[in-house]
């Protein structure tokens, strides 16, 4: 449904600002590479999240999909139509099939809730009666029928975003772009907006591309996730896989930050990278599917003769998958612990050795 191919975006910054410190003029324009060679495919009906830190190029990426930002190179296909080559008029037509919501809602302050939702339809030149027929059920869908004649200033943040969602859906788009749609909302409201988006995805089969810096959002509604860093997509995976075993360092940082699953402070200080004479490995175990319900830890003790000291543990459920995470110290001889890790890996656990600590016993 959405297909970005080899999209790059370079911003030219005029050399008006003086170089810091030197007081010298910057000497002409400098450029910033906001996106480099981005390939992204979001199939029909999927919710795809792009996660990254601020300044990584998330906003530029999502704005390239409806050409609010025109890519410097590359092509953008939405619903089988290549957008970068379209005339202005044809592009406006194409944009009717791409809804967008924003972090700060961007509702017109001097229009009522009803008139805000009606705006895209007015722009399409739809008749008044027809507009009413479209807007009324949309307000019902987002649960704001009773607010139709109020102005945005009278609404809460969550209600404003609901209006924005209704507005984005008014032209019956095939694709919905969400630009940090929940970043300005409190956690509870975020939850209800995400639930609404998931609901819309289900009911209407709408393809959703969202950008966010919150793992919570990815976990809650995304099917697939891409990780963006310095304008490049560095990792892409199904959400369940990503939460079990991110492949990049940045992915692991995001995950650890989200799960807050780190070894205790005191232990981190003792961790050594290489195993020594008398050390135990400290491992991070991630397991999903059958492994969750299998009593692997006690089997480990029985079958490998390795004791397990659990330092931290957590169970998350992500996209109907249960995900278990644990930080544990494996206590036994080097051969035994080696065996234990092999045993765990043979049972589809993801094992990451965080380091080694001196034996205390």
């Amino acid at each position: 449904m959405i297909r970005l191919h080899n999209v790059s975006k370079t911003f030219v910054i005029k050399g008006r600002k003086r170089r810091q410190g030197t007081g010298e003029p910057d000497g002409g324009a400098s450029t910033v590479q906001a996106l480099s060679n981005v390939d992204l495919h979001v199939p029909q009906g999927q919710i795809h999240g792009v996660i990254g830190l601020s300044g990584a190029g998330k906003s530029t990426l999502i704005r390239c999909v409806n050409l609010l930002e025109r890519p410097s190179t590359g092509t953008v296909m939405v619903d089988g139509q290549e957008l970068t080559g379209l005339s202005r008029q044809a592009l406006n037509q194409a944009r009717h099939r791409i809804g967008m919501i924003f972090q700060h809602f961007n509702l017109l302050t001097n229009r009522t809730v009803f008139a805000n939702v009606a705006l895209p339809l007015e722009l399409m030149g739809m008749k008044r009666a027809e507009i009413r027929q479209r807007v009324t059920p949309l307000l019902e869908l987002v649960g704001l029928s009773d607010k139709a004649s109020q102005y945005p200033a009278q609404l809460s943040g969550g209600q404003k975003q609901r209006v924005a969602i209704a507005r984005a859906l008014a032209s019956r788009p095939k694709v919905l772009l969400c630009d940090e749609a929940t970043s300005a909302l409190d956690p509870q409201t975020t939850g209800s907006i995400l639930a609404l988006l998931r609901d819309i995805n289900h009911k209407l089969g709408l393809t959703i591309l969202l950008i966010t810096h919150e793992m919570e959002v990815v976990k809650a509604i995304c099917h697939r996730v891409s990780l963006i860093s310095d304008g490049e997509l560095v990792e892409e995976a199904d959400v369940g896989d990503f939460f079990t075993a991110p492949r990049t360092q940045l992915g692991r940082e995001f995950l650890n930050d989200f799960l807050k699953l780190e070894p205790p402070r005191a232990l981190i200080d003792q961790l050594e990278e290489a195993p020594g004479e008398n050390t135990h490995p400290v491992v991070r175990l991630a397991f999903s599917g059958d492994a969750v319900s299998t009593p692997l830890i006690s089997r480990l003790a029985r079958e490998c003769g390795v004791d397990v000291s659990i330092l931290q543990a957590k169970v998350e459920s992500i996209q109907e998958r249960t995900l278990g995470l644990m930080i544990a110290e494996l206590m036994g001889s080097p051969e035994k612990t080696r065996e234990a890790i092999d045993y765990l890996e043979s049972h589809d656990l993801h094992v990451e050795v965080l380091g080694h600590v001196q034996r205390t016993a």
Binding site: N66, L68, L91, N92, Q93, A94, R95, H96, I98, G99, M100, F102, H104, N106, L107, L108, T109, N110, R111, L119, P120, E122, L123, M124, Y151, P152, A153, S171, L177
Partner: protein, 217 residues
């Protein structure tokens, strides 16, 4: 006070209102679109035209930098060509209008500048044309700011119209100078000033009311 004098005051008041109204309306008709044009042709805006924007900006600044009293005299030939005379209320309305156009334009540009750029972006994402953005987003969203701009302009026009009295423009300024100043009649002077004060208060209150009514920010 004789009825003749009262008649004179009434007439002068109506003359002032007439000058302010006609120049206010005409200046708004030109000034508001000019303000919109100044805004939308700026770099990065929906109809970015740096050259047009630059040229319009310079013309507007020239218009705003000429002192009104000089403008009034300088354009007398133009005024004569337009209304056939350089004396009277119609003649005074010409320089008033010309002075008010760049004034309104800059204020409207400022009002548009207050609009959250995200709204324009949202409209663009819906496939709005530049014309639709101007008529459906920019102007309605700046409504309050435009009413404020018009209020400031009308109040300024009241005081400028009094200045027009100095060169035989008619109205309260004219009355105040001829009867109050030249004939040294403090009563007339005070009355004209009092009427002007009431007029300005009235316009300001009306403007504030319209801003309140129209703006839902």
């Amino acid at each position: 006070m004789s009825s003749a004098l009262l008649d004179l005051i009434l007439r002068a008041t109506l003359d002032t209102l007439y000058m302010v109204a006609i120049s206010g309306v005409l200046a708004a008709l030109v000034g508001i679109p000019l303000g919109v044009l100044l805004y939308v042709t700026r770099p990065g805006q929906v109809l970015a035209q740096p050259v047009v924007s630059g040229v319009l900006g310079v013309i507007t600044n020239i218009g705003r930098s000429i002192p009104f009293i000089i403008l009034m005299v300088a354009i007398i030939p133009f005024t004569r060509m337009l209304v056939g005379t350089s004396i009277g209320t119609n003649a005074a309305a010409v320089p008033l209008t010309i002075a008010a156009i760049p004034f309104i334009a800059r204020l409207v540009e400022g009002a548009l500048n207050e609009i959250n750029p995200g709204l324009v972006e949202a409209a663009q994402s819906m496939g709005a044309t530049p014309w639709q953005i101007i008529t459906r987003v920019l102007l309605p969203e700046a409504r309050g700011g435009i009413f404020t701009a018009m209020t400031v302009t009308v109040v300024t026009l009241v005081s400028y119209s009094a200045m027009a009295g100095a060169v035989g423009g008619g109205g309260l300024g004219d009355l105040g100078i001829r009867y109050g100043y030249n004939r040294f009649n403090p009563t007339i002077m005070l009355i004209t000033v009092a009427i002007l004060v009431v007029m300005v208060q009235g316009f300001q209150s009306l403007g504030d009311y319209l801003v309140r009514k129209s703006d839902h920010k």
